[in-house]
Amino acid sequence: MLEGIWKAFGIGRGRAAALEDVDIAVPRGQFVTLIGPSGCGKSTLLRIVAGLLEADRGTVSVFGETVSKATAAKHIGFVPQSPALLPWRSVLDNVRLPLQVNRKADGGAARNRRDPKEVLESFGLGKMLDRRPAQLSGGMQQRVAIARAFVFDPTILLMDEPFSALDELTREVQRHELLKVWQSNQKTVLFVTHSVAEAVALSDVIVVMSSQPGRIRAVIPVGLPRPRNQFVETTDEFHELESQVRFELWGAWHGDDET
């Protein structure tokens, strides 16, 4: 899906490579996580797939479509780092937003548009429909933001550290809520995080990146059986995978010679 992506920022001598020759394939229906130290370009990569940035070199295809075609057809769902809800809209109206803009993309046949109310109910927010975002907790706001990306049935969901602003406990609860919802939908997801536990619990494949410049260091398949629930985190297999990812991350931090 992503082939030979190069990206640099800045101009002249200060120009710094952010991504160097990155290839990633995200199979349909799979949950793929990008993990790496800060500054490894994982968010940049996600923004390139979302069409918010352009790669200097390389091609991105979203199941055969170019990124601009995919966004024009509303095939890409983006969940930013902050919930970015519109404070003047109720929870329900926030989730309706994607259905209200760029309507001509909704004409497509195989579209499985969902009822915003049902989506919110499946996210455990059925009682919050008429609340304003400011009246919800941070975790709930983030769930509304994810619901907003689910509602128009995109072919791929891009999530940029959606839980990074939450405290550790809330984060864990949200992780398992997402796990539940994802397992009943099996959407294709490209997920960015720097939490190892989050990556192992949620993913089918973990891509570990190293920084400066951003490169792929390891691709680790997660063989944990599905459906998973929070108790998967108490199993030995989980801990083994966690150690494996950590080991690769240390390598990414210090370089191979020191590990």
Binding site: A72, F78, A84, P87, W88, V101, F152, L158
Partner: protein, 292 residues
């Protein structure tokens, strides 16, 4: 595993229930808050301080006026002046109100439209902003006589003065408001391929409303100043509180002067109250509507 399960369930159960309780707490729901707020206005702690301050001011005025009858009229004199000729003052007040509101309305609308255009075409912002600054730094009093010569003694020069005086503050606030977005919300709309028009209508416009109201609270009283200044320059055309002050001052008719000043103050307060009420109604989601 079997032993950890109930523990885990209990833990998550507790978590959600505390969250629920916090959200159900009073103060979060609009109606409850309003019910609690209404009697708060009647509480002496709220109204006593401003009422005492106002009372002291009136008392000071009265004491000074009694001893200096040629400098300032007494409070009862001013009040009876309005009481004797309520229709006369109401008529002049309405003339000034019309000049202020129509001119400010056109000026604010023009400023907002220009802000929307500038927000999308940056070249225009760079081209026109210096001109707007020049318009802003030029004292309005200096322009008014020229406008009277050009447009006569009718409403036109007054509309221009009040429009010009509100133009710049409203333009700047509109521009800031239209850009006061969470960039991530803009990202979400970009990935949905929302058009510029959709971004403007669904995102920029509502996001700018708090700024527009803040600007209106400054601009409407400003436009009353503009109207009075314009009337000073076009005195002889005996309508409007400004013209009234001008002619009465020339005849040393202090009671009429101060009755007009009082009417102007009332007009300014009324305009501010209208804006604040509208703001409360339309911005219930925004903190500016809740705190005051």
């Amino acid at each position: 595993m079997a032993t950890t399960r109930p523990e885990g369930d209990r833990a998550t159960g507790e978590l959600t229930s505390t969250k629920e309780r916090v959200l159900e707490a009073p103060g979060v729901d609009g109606p409850i808050e309003r019910e609690r707020r209404a009697p708060r206005w009647l509480h002496p702690r709220v109204w006593l301080a401003p009422v005492v301050a106002f009372g002291l001011l009136v008392l000071g005025w009265q004491l000074y006026a009694v001893h200096n009858p040629y400098v300032i009229p007494t409070v009862p004199e001013v009040l009876s002046q309005i009481g004797d000729k309520p229709g006369f003052y109401a008529h002049n007040l309405l003339v000034t109100l019309q000049e202020a509101v129509v001119g400010a309305g056109c000026g604010m609308l023009a400023a907002f439209i220009l802000a929307v255009v500038m927000c999308h075409v940056h070249v225009l912002e760079r081209a026109l902003m210096p001109l707007a600054v020049i318009l802003n730094v030029t004292p309005i009093i200096a322009i008014a006589p020229g406008l009277v010569v050009a447009f006569g003694f009718g409403f036109t020069p007054k509309y221009i003065v009040t429009g010009v005086i509100v133009f710049f503050p409203f333009l700047i606030n509109s521009l800031i408001g239209l850009r006061a977005l969470e960039p991530q919300a803009l990202d979400v709309l970009a990935t949905l391929h929302a058009s510029r028009w959709e971004v403007l209508w669904r995102l920029r416009l509502p996001a700018s409303l708090p700024f527009l109201f803040a600007a209106a609270r400054i601009c409407l009283p400003l436009s009353v100043i503009g109207a009075v200044v314009a009337e000073f320059s076009a005195a002889g055309q005996a309508a409007g509180l400004g013209a009234l002050i001008e002619t009465a001052a020339n005849q040393a008719d202090l009671k009429t002067v101060y009755a007009s000043v009082l009417s102007l103050a009332v007009l300014g307060i009324a305009l501010t109250v209208v804006v604040v009420l509208l703001q409360r109604r339309m911005l219930s989601w925004h903190s500016s509507a809740r705190s005051r």
